[in-house]
């Protein structure tokens, strides 16, 4: 297989309600990436469009986006794995380039969640789990992740305050990320106010819905060296799946799909967890970040709380995690999230992350989960 690099990234500002249609929202990230990389549409050989269905009325969005972005008549693909759609899109793009079928492929993620109400959005996300056997009970994402939070607390003695510390960190960095939806400072006391959504998760343990788009451009080694001064190499990609229903899960303190995806990505990249300089993990809820510390083996099972108590996942710590504010502060526009995480790592590895920069970062990791651990994608990037 050929080596593949990321040569350009883009992101819209994530907002509560974007004042335009999905094609216009997608254009924001596309424009950012194409201008940043200095590319023209005719240099893109194929596109991969990623979103979760039913937030907007458009069917077959890849066709729409290929037209609006000016990417006709090249091939386009639609890839979906709910919240990890654009990481699955990256994997698709990697395969297309590594195989030699295409040389330059663009991954576009978008989601305009504001077209429906929050309750409708929860209903749709609930239907991102098992609709035949679980949704009839009134399931929703916070409740699913809350059962994992309860599982972690019961098994390891994790406290609600440990989860709150993760949100404190998130707000520290959300304030300095000009593309984040939530930029207010948050104190531990404020986060600990007992505004429960699904016990033990409270309001600030949950990320906000947002509208947003992201764009990642990948290229073969030859094209990357030709088109880009500082390519960021894709070193390892791991993906795994797990049963969609809770009855099929063997643990409620970690996500098996993430553990396996991590193992596969580390194996392909030939690195250890301790080699990672900076990581973006899927913190749709605080408990999700805590489990990621352990699933990615930054900490032993049950030791995740120690990492955040000792501030080891802050910028100055042993393994900086989500120093762009994560989903908790940036917001979580489902289909755009993975691409936004990849963008942050791209900027970090090129030394272009501004106030969020981790000094001398050479290896970066993205952990992006779809549904309640149905799909796990872990991607490892590096610079020479």
């Amino acid at each position: 297989m050929r080596k593949v690099a990321v040569i350009g990234v883009g992101q819209s500002t994530f907002v509560r309600a974007y004042p335009g249609s999905i094609r216009e929202l997608a254009f924001e990230a596309y424009r950012d990436a194409m201008q940043g990389a200095g590319l023209k549409a005719e240099q893109i050989d194929a596109s991969v469009v990623c979103s979760a269905p039913e937030y907007d009325k458009q069917r077959t969005p890849a066709g729409l986006m290929a037209e609006y972005l000016g990417l006709n008549p090249q091939p386009t693909f639609y890839v979906e794995s709910v919240c990890s759609s654009s990481s699955s899109g990256l994997r698709t793009a990697y395969a297309l380039v590594a195989s030699g079928l295409h040389d330059v492929v663009l991954v576009l993620g978008f989601q305009k969640m504001s077209e429906i109400s929050s309750a409708e959005s929860q209903e749709r996300m609930g239907r991102g789990a098992d609709i035949q056997w679980e949704a009839p009970f009134g399931t929703m994402m916070p409740a699913y992740y809350a059962m994992y939070a309860r599982g972690h607390m019961d098994k390891y003695g994790t406290r609600e305050e440990d989860l709150a510390l993760i949100r404190v960190k998130s707000s520290t960095y959300g304030q300095i990320n000009d593309r984040a939806v939530f930029r207010k400072a948050l104190t531990l006391d404020k986060i600990m106010e007992p505004k429960y959504i699904a016990t033990p998760l409270k309001m600030f343990d949950c990320c906000a819905n947002a509208d947003g788009s992201s764009c990642v451009i990948v290229a073969s080694e030859e094209k990357a060296k030709d088109l880009c001064q500082k390519p960021v190499w894709i070193k390892g990609l791991g993906m795994a799946t797990a049963p969609i229903n809770m009855a099929g899960r063997d643990s409620f303190s970690g996500l098996k799909c993430a553990q396996l995806a991590g193992e596969r990505a580390y194996g392909m990249a030939g690195i250890k967890p301790s080699d990672v300089d900076v990581a973006e993990v899927h913190d749709c809820f605080t408990i999700a970040e805590l489990m990621a510390y352990e699933d990615l083996r930054f900490a032993e099972p049950g030791q995740g709380p120690e990492l955040i108590r000792n501030k080891e996942t802050y910028k100055e710590g042993k393994i900086p995690v989500n120093v762009d504010g994560g989903l908790l502060s940036k917001g979580h526009p489902i289909g755009a999230t993975g691409g936004s995480q990849i963008r942050t790592i791209f900027l970090q590895l090129r030394g272009e992350a501004g106030p969020m920069q981790v000094p001398d970062a050479k290896i970066g990791l993205v952990h992006n989960i779809g549904g309640v651990g149905i799909y796990g994608n872990v991607s490892i990037f590096g610079v020479d």
Binding site: Q122, M125, G138, M140, A146, D154, L201, A247, F252
Partner: protein, 137 residues
């Protein structure tokens, strides 16, 4: 069409496993067992992914189970608002069979904890709908 009677809001009208509803109406929660390789399933499957057989029978889920995890939902998705708050959880029964469902509303917060012993109770809902819940054993 019987299956759309399952649960508070149903999202599935037709399934080969619709007899599930009939069992619930007769006060039984049942899973399926493969007649060829003996694999047991809950939620019920019509097709065995172990040996590919479609020859399935129903078996009852009875006795005492152990609550593994749970949450009390203080908000609800569209269609479930009037039920708030409600508790959902996962319990493990004989042969490792796990069951996801709601917990009995009458159970106090102080008694619901992981490790508590639970049993299945089929319940009747409005408009001839049926479901099941987990209650203290």
């Amino acid at each position: 069409m019987a299956f759309e009677k399952f649960g508070i809001v149903s999202f599935t009208a037709t399934t080969k496993a619709e007899q599930f509803v009939e069992f619930l109406q007769n006060n039984e929660l049942r899973g399926t067992v493969c007649m060829r390789c003996g694999a047991k399933f809950f939620p019920p499957r019509s097709d065995c992914d172990v040996c590919l057989s479609q020859d399935m029978e129903w078996f009852p889920i009875e006795g005492e189970g152990t609550l593994l995890t749970y949450t009390k939902a203080m908000f609800a998705p569209a269609g479930f608002e009037k039920d708030v708050p409600y508790v959902m959880g996962v319990a493990q029964f004989k042969d490792g069979i796990k069951v996801f469902g709601r917990l009995d509303k009458a159970l106090g917060d102080d008694v619901i904890k992981a490790g508590m012993k639970v049993k299945i109770r089929p319940v009747s809902l409005e408009n001839d709908r049926v479901s099941y819940e987990l209650t203290a054993a």
